[in-house]
């Protein structure tokens, strides 16, 4: 079985660049849904029975809190329970006493509807922004450590270039995970960071397995093979493993997604589904983006050397 993956690289790059451009457009069209966890704000959820008019709740909440609020009603398909979320329009947290007052006011106005608070999220904007910055630094630092490690472990195949190409592939996966959050309109929160980090680990894992094969083939085959042949051979040997591993993890995640959907557990759905997309993207970029880019880089270096022998 012989495949020429490397010479199809233009197709891979075109697909990836289109996807990234699409992500950028979607960000502007759909808009970024930054969770209050990062930007600060307050959302209080209540469950109730019977009928409660959202507009009435809104005016009551606004007058009790003394701020502009939005109220959104929801009905959980699985449990049949109705809930509404009261969210503050301004990006700041509310004092505990205010929320207590709101709960009491709602219970007084709807004594027969068993209004109970199910959750309350209050985030101070300073703390939220700080948390966001810390997450970004953690991701950036983790990426840097990987490049250095790959550069060190894969010296034999031009470590730094391998590390940098691996990073590009990772960036590609992160953009696609981000795109999934945008398209599904999941809020960008802690879950997002966890998915990004999981995919970072997973995609690196994949890329390294491919690099390892290239390293081994180079050692075994010596310099008989051209870089292009070397990578094609290594990719051919790695592809079954990559696909099988991904299929097993995606099976597991898909089950989690389906169960989460049936039970209406949104917090789980909003990390399991983007993770599936990230894993597929991860295996794709590890096979077709990182190694082929590395070939382009290495061939470019060889051509440059060939062009300059006169100097030596």
């Amino acid at each position: 079985m012989k495949h020429d993956f490397v010479s199809k690289n233009k197709i891979f790059y075109t697909i990836s660049i289109c996807l990234m451009a699409l992500t950028l457009i979607l960000t502007f069209v759909i808009g970024l849904n930054l969770d209050i966890q990062f930007k600060g704000g307050a959302i209080i959820s209540y469950s109730y029975t019977g009928d409660v008019n959202a507009n009435d709740v809104q005016s009551l909440a606004a007058s009790t809190i003394g701020e502009k609020v939005n109220v959104q009603g929801k009905t959980d398909v699985a449990t049949g329970k109705s809930t509404f979320d009261v969210s503050l329009a301004a990006t700041k947290g509310l004092p505990v006493e205010t929320i207590d007052k709101l709960t009491k006011a709602l219970q007084e106005k709807y004594p027969d509807n068993a209004v109970t608070m199910t959750s309350s999220n209050n985030v101070d904007p300073t703390i939220g922004r700080e948390f966001f910055a810390k997450c970004m630094v953690a991701v950036a630092f983790a990426s840097l450590v990987m490049v250095v490690y790959i550069a060190f472990r894969f010296k034999r195949i031009g470590g730094w270039s391998a590390g940098v190409m691996c990073m590009l592939a990772l960036l590609h996966d992160m953009v696609l995970v981000y795109a999934t959050f945008i398209v599904c309109q999941f809020p960008i929160n802690e879950n997002f960071v966890v998915v990004i980090l999981t995919i970072l680990g997973y995609s690196i894992n994949n890329t390294i397995v491919v690099y390892d094969r290239i390293r081994e083939n180079k050692r075994l085959g010596g310099s008989k093979l051209s870089i292009r042949e070397l990578v094609n051979k290594s990719l051919g040997q790695s592809i079954t493993r990559a696909v099988n591993t991904t299929v097993s993890t995606v099976i597991a995640l898909a089950v989690i997604c389906i169960v989460a959907m049936l039970y209406g557990v949104n917090s789980i759905l909003s990390f399991a589904f983007p993770m599936i997309i990230g894993m597929i993207s991860g295996v794709y970029s590890s096979l077709f983006i990182a190694p082929t880019l590395w070939v382009v880089w290495q061939e470019h270096k060889i051509n440059k050397k060939k062009a300059e022998p006169a100097k030596a």
């Binding site: 449990t79 700041k92 947290g93 004092p95 505990v96 006493e97 207590d100 709960t103 109970t116 608070m117 199910t118 959750s119 309350s120 209050n122 101070d124 703390i127 700080e130 948390f131 810390k134 997450c135 630094v137 953690a138 630092f141 983790a142 450590v145 472990r153 802690e190 966890v194 998915v195 980090l197 999981t198 970072l200 680990g201 997973y202 690196i204 894992n205 390294i208 397995v209 390892d212 094969r213 390293r215 493993r241 099988n244 591993t245 299929v247 097993s248 099976i251 597991a252 995640l253 089950v255 989690i256 169960v259 989460a260 049936l262 039970y263 557990v265 917090s267 789980i268 990390f271 993770m275």
Partner: protein, 463 residues
């Protein structure tokens, strides 16, 4: 690797089975109705507040007030005492001295039906009522009564400062007490009256925190409390006394409260999903890789059981750990990486078989060639896990200390959940080396000694 005999497979299998059984079901003895836990099972997992409900709150002094480290320590001691009086024992309290924040996290108790986090939070942040009272008369619920209830000698505002000190000559820890002008005369009168025969009890709210004997009259407003202190207990008492003199009330506009019923459905759903997912992956892997697939799934079972054991506090040297939703994601990733280790090896063995080498040689070659890939890819994931644990873990933990130059500018985060992800991932990857690499190799080599199991087809070769 040395020769692996036939019985090895069964030894490893029995060990994994025993580990799996105990990790999931635990070992308990029953003394009538009282259950004694000898080994903790999966039911003893401490779920994070995102799953079982609870409160995560960040307190800080009012805006514009720059609290000193001593004041923050005093405020922390108030919160700790209050948590205990509210019967909340399973709590975490961290103080960030740079940013003047106190982070408190506690789960909602399972038997609590009345979900009212607001009042719990409001009460934690209140200024403490510190009193020095005459005598030590308490009623059956531990509250002051009689003369102790009536005669309040000092209140928090009469105290200027309390400090832990060491008396060098006696090598003894004490708490020194400095009073404000307002308290000097009152204290002098009381101590003169009680000297040699009485007790002064010190209270925070309605909690008795100390009751020193009065030895001599103290007229200059500088007292010393002695008696069997360690460095830590002296600091603890000083912090508590200082809390009475705190000039501020703790405020919060940053807290999350989750109703337990919201999370418990999530937990059941995850357990169900985990079971189905494991079964499907097993079918897939065994169908593709045959004998190495079976071995892989046994090893994975062991890896999963051991991960759960590392969370429940199964091993005496590993304390139990709070499992959150991101923690579950960490388990999924580490299982994924574990599957991968087995897939890489099985692929390698298949490749070698198809080149027509001997079976034993193929198995050895498969494992040794796969190892560098497994090692490098796993180590990088370990880096991710360590960085996360350092960035989002408690400030005193090992990784946080190592990474503190990088993250100290950010203050402590409230994301205990991400820390859990790092932990399960790290544990999972370490276990992957034990099970995915070592245990599965022992099992496969041992199985390959059995004649019926030596057909190339079983290892992915052609019939």
């Amino acid at each position: 690797m040395k020769r692996v005999g036939k019985p090895v497979f069964f030894i490893v299998l029995v060990l994994i089975a025993a580990l799996t059984y105990t990790a999931f079901f635990g070992i308990y003895t029953y003394n009538g109705d009282i259950q004694n836990t000898i080994v903790k099972g999966a039911n003893d997992i401490r779920w994070g507040i995102d799953i079982r409900g609870g409160v995560d709150v960040t307190f800080s002094p009012p805006e514009g007030y720059d609290a000193t480290d001593d004041e923050m320590a005093a405020a922390e001691s108030v919160i700790k005492v209050r948590l205990v009086t509210q019967n909340i024992t399973d709590s975490e309290v961290y103080t960030d001295y740079n940013k003047d924040r106190i982070i408190v996290r506690f789960p909602w108790k399972a038997d609590e039906t009345n979900f009212d986090p607001q009042s719990a939070i409001a009460e934690l942040g209140e200024t403490a009522m510190l009193t020095f009272r005459e005598g030590k008369e308490v009623d059956e619920s531990g509250k002051p009564t009689g003369v102790t209830a009536e005669n309040i000698i000092l209140t928090g505002s009469d105290v200027k400062k309390a400090e832990p000190r060491v008396l060098q000559d006696k090598n003894q820890y004490v708490v020194s007490l400095e009073l404000e002008e307002s308290g000097k005369q009152k204290f002098a009168d009381a101590t003169t009256r009680l000297a040699g025969k009485g007790v002064i009890s010190i209270w925070m709210d309605d909690v008795l925190i100390s009751y020193p004997n009065v030895d001599d009259p103290i007229t200059d407003g500088n007292a010393m409390i002695s008696g069997g202190f360690t460095a830590a207990s002296a600091k603890d008492l000083a912090d508590k006394i200082n809390s009475g003199a705190l000039p501020f009330k703790l405020e919060t506009e940053n807290y999350n409260a989750i109703n337990p019923t919201l999370g418990l459905g999530a937990k059941d759903a995850m357990v169900l999903a985990g079971g189905i997912a494991f079964a499907l992956v097993a079918i897939f892997i065994i169908a593709i890789y045959r004998l190495p697939g079976v071995v892989a799934m046994i090893a994975l079972t062991g890896q999963m059981a051991c991960t759960i054991a590392a969370i429940t506090g199964f091993f005496p040297f590993i304390p139990s750990f709070t499992l959150t939703l991101p923690g579950i994601a960490g388990i999924i990733l580490s299982i994924g990486v574990g599957v991968d280790a087995n897939v890489i090896t099985s692929e390698r063995i298949k490749e070698e078989i198809n080149t027509g080498k001997s079976l034993d040689g193929c198995i050895d070659l498969g494992y040794s060639r796969a190892f560098t890939a497994i090692f490098d890819s796993n180590i990088t994931v370990v880096f991710v896990a360590v960085i996360l644990m350092g960035a989002f873990g408690p400030p005193s933990s090992l990784f946080a200390t190592i990474l503190s130059p990088l993250f100290r500018f950010f203050g402590q985060s409230t994301a205990g959940a991400v820390y859990s992800f790092g932990y399960t991932l790290l544990v999972g990857i370490i276990l992957n080396f034990v099970f995915g690499v070592t245990a599965s190799r022992l099992m496969l080599k041992s199985l390959s000694k059995f004649k019926p199991l030596r057909k190339a087809w079983l290892y992915g070769g052609k019939k």
